[in-house]
């Protein structure tokens, strides 16, 4: 049994108990969903958002975005591979996680996770990446006899056919997978929102808008992340950015962030106007425990400021260098804002008592399994994976690569 000595937990709980304001049910001292559950929706959100950005090229033929199509796909894959780890680490009995596949409870939103995740990873992402890179992998496998060529041969699943008909099929297949992938990406993150939105016991979570808000914020964070990686990559590789592409992505980001802002504003206005039993305690929550992370970090710095920057970029007088800087800053601030939003939902929902009479505290541990240290590692891991993927699977097509840039 993986039961660590609960002494550290008791110390944490004693400290959290000492910070309770008002009355809470005695079992509510413990914060059950910790920092790991904050980064889980952040990671899956980026997957869904990056994929939707990629689908603009394949399904909606937005040619300007073509240069970052592959980067968006690989970003989605890198974050997807890390996404289930925080959940797994958080379980009281990680060794029983397989039960979610073996005996899923059909009424549980969480039971869907295993299937949605596997479908999205195996049924959509890997297949799309494979079709996209098949030709190139075969070419690289044929280049020599070393270890790398054997790896490429294995990655191409030992397919050899690069006739025009086969390549045309790749193209069609890839488009088909993307078409199926769009609703799947919506499902992937919409259901994460549903996990929270369906909890009627918790009015901070229980909102019919929650899946939609999660989805929109996912699109925002995914687009911003690809933009961030694209700019960073050009700096590292000393390559010229495609400004037409960046401007187009910036436009999509602007639209997404406006819709996201409108939805979240609607949610708050609706709550205030309906003014239900929980409104008093939620008001206290927002004005005290969540003030910094919600009002300042999420809304002002993480949403309105980047919104302003993205509007500023669109004025004619801004030159390319400055635009690049503005895009980069906006994308970075958006990451901060979306991460804060996940925090405010997950942790915020556990900072007030279901008796509506008191507020709890969450004391984040610095080290250990459910700690800041683990969260930092898990937030860094996708970038490490992405670096490996980018070295293995170049974002430029073979013909572009040989041409001098």
């Amino acid at each position: 049994m993986s039961a660590p000595m609960p002494q550290a937990l008791y110390e944490q709980l004693a400290s959290q108990l000492s910070q309770v304001i008002g009355f809470i049910y005695p079992n509510e001292v413990e914060t059950h969903w910790s920092i790991l559950i904050v980064i889980y929706p952040y990671l899956t959100g980026i997957v869904a958002g990056a994929f939707i950005l990629a689908s603009l090229v394949k399904v909606f033929n937005v040619v300007e975005v073509q240069p970052i199509y592959r980067l968006a796909l690989l970003t989605a894959l890198a974050f997807m591979l890390v996404a289930p780890i925080p959940l797994q680490l958080h379980l009281g009995h990680p060794e029983r996680a397989y039960e979610i596949f073996m005996t899923p409870q059909p009424t549980s939103a969480m039971a869907m996770f295993g299937f949605v995740y596997m479908w999205y990873l195996l049924g959509i992402l890997l297949i799309e990446v494979w079709f996209e890179y098949r030709q190139q992998m075969i070419v690289m496998a044929n280049r020599g006899r070393g270890l790398m060529s054997r790896i490429y041969a294995a990655l191409s699943l030992y397919s050899k056919d690069i006739s025009p008909q086969a390549l045309a099929f790749d193209k069609r297949a890839s488009k088909f997978v993307t078409i199926v992938g769009i609703p799947s990406a919506f499902l992937l993150h919409g259901y994460v929102g549903f996990i929270f939105g369906s909890v009627k016991a918790n009015p901070w979570w229980g909102s019919v808008l929650m899946p939609i808000v999660f989805l929109m914020s996912a699109i925002v964070s995914g687009i911003a992340m690809v933009m961030l990686v694209y700019v960073l990559l050009s700096l590292v590789r000393n390559e010229k950015l495609d400004m037409r592409c960046l401007d187009k992505v910036g436009l999509f980001l602007l639209v997404a962030i406006i819709v996201d802002f409108a939805l979240e504003a609607l949610d708050y206005i609706h709550r205030l106007y309906q003014s239900e039993e929980s409104i008093k305690i939620l008001g206290q929550l927002v004005s005290s425990k969540l003030f910094t992370s919600l009002v300042i970090m999420q809304v002002l710095i993480g949403m309105l400021l980047p919104l302003l920057l993205l509007v500023l970029v669109r004025s004619q007088r801004v030159n390319a260098e400055l635009r690049k800087l503005l895009y980069f800053t906006a994308a970075l601030l958006i990451q901060l804002g979306i991460l804060s939003m996940r925090w405010n939902v997950v942790i915020g929902g556990q900072l007030y008592s279901k008796s509506f009479r008191g507020l709890m505290a969450y004391k984040m541990e610095l080290t250990g399994i459910e700690s800041l240290a683990t969260a930092v590692v898990l937030l860094t891991a996708p970038f490490v994976i992405l670096t490996v993927l980018l070295n293995l699977l170049p974002t430029q097509h073979a013909e572009q690569r040989t041409a001098p840039t």
């Binding site: 008791y10 108990l17 413990e30 009281g92 009995h93 409870q105 556990q350």
Partner: protein, 253 residues
Amino acid sequence: MNKREFLTDAVLFFPAASLVATLASKAAGKELSAETTTGYDPSLHWYGMGIDVDKCIGCNRCVEACKAENDVPTEPYFFRTWVERYTIRNNGETTVECISTKPGPAKQAAPEDPSVVRTFFVPKLCNQCANPPCVQVCPVGATFQTKDGVVLVDEKRCIGCRYCIQACPYGARYLNPHTRTAEKCTFCYHRVTKGLQPACVEVCPTEARIFGDLNKLSDRLVRFQRANEISVLKPDLNTAPKVRYAQLDGEVR
């Protein structure tokens, strides 16, 4: 075959054969119903509990009995049942405290204070909802409702995801730090299926808790429900609690 070969074969044969025989009988065997094994038929019962708020004196004996009976960690963060004290003042201000985090009986809040309009104790426990949100959200079906209406957790199946704890509107669940699985009041299922009372009911000196079978018209609980004005906690959530309160103040959530 010489003697040595015969003996080695025999050593392997007998355990292997008995294993196959056991598996075969397991595969062929049907699940025995609870009735045939213990003489208890769960489908005949529908358990509930009545709580007479006026009778509770805040002695905390139910909490202590529950912790002892069910191996609940003694630390003040884990409770299957607890008692709250409400103090309502003439300016409308309501103060609530949990009196069970400290051992021993609690006093009523300064009854001589003229500003106090009402003060009373409210025992709380899992409401054994007929429409339980915790059962709905459990991803692996570890939390389930028995035929006799008790919500239980299978500690061998629970993965410790804590979704049920989030879904419970009453704060009735906790994660046991030793077993790393979710736990809650079971109505002392191990006792009631033997015809005994839950531990908290057994020790209550004022009979503020009434355990019974809602299926039986003659049951004490059914008579208690007939004789009193009954309310449940958070009725707007449609959880259909089977813990029924008499003389419950509207301030109690």
